[in-house]
Symmetry: C2
Subunit: 136 residues, 2 copies
């Protein structure tokens, strides 16, 4: 396999995760990205990248998440192997969530996007304002 050909794979093909002829609907890269597309996934990843947190701590840290979505998002992140869930046999039992190695690796990539947002949110906000002005 010529490595030059790999480099010539288009960005879209990389996203599709196919070297040719595959079905765009069943795409491993899309599946992974979809798992991070949830409204709360990246925020919780950022929190847990800082340090491990317990369920109630996360709830207080992110006041506008419902308990239902916190449970569900943590469950999904655990399922995808990003988050480890550890139950302590206290009374009542407490649960600590932390990033796995895979989670830390993934957050390394996600962090680029967060940093970009930090640097450029003014430009985005300005673009929105300008666009909304023309649509009024």
């Amino acid at each position: 396999m010529d490595s030059r050909i790999v480099n010539l794979r288009s960005k879209l093909d990389v996203y599709k995760g196919m070297t040719g002829g595959g079905n765009l609907a069943d795409c491993p890269v899309r599946e992974v990205i979809q798992g991070l597309n949830g409204k709360w996934s990246s925020l919780l990843m950022a929190a847990l990248a800082e340090q491990p947190y317990r369920f109630g701590e996360l709830r207080r840290l992110v006041p506008d998440i419902s308990q239902r979505m916190l449970t569900q998002t943590l469950h999904d992140l655990q399922r995808d192997g990003y988050v480890h869930r550890k139950v302590f046999p206290t009374k009542p039992p407490s649960v600590e969530y932390s990033l796995t190695d895979l989670g830390r690796s993934m957050f390394g990539a996600l962090h680029h996007l967060i940093q970009w947002a930090e640097l450029n949110h003014d430009a985005v906000r300005q673009a929105r304002a300008g666009f909304d002005a023309t649509q009024a």
Copy 2:
């Protein structure tokens, strides 16, 4: 006092986009990330990073997107300043979508995440299979 206060800004604070005392709910970084959390945003960004496409071309390129969501996602990406919409006065009029400079800049960061997914989707798939096995 906690020693991590000495840290300049935690990852979570960066995500919050606040240097202190702000409200987590109104956060510029969160707003930007939310705009990319849509189910189709990153896929369309990857397509347009490859080359400009027309509406119908994108529709054929991504067979499982509904016309409704294609219109809406492109509209949102245009509103945030990532995508430029150009109408050609042909009959019937055709519309070309392309990335702006801001869009290309943002995709540079997003690309890290896509590349990570390309390299690690096997690990994620395996984590899912293992997790589902224990839950069965």
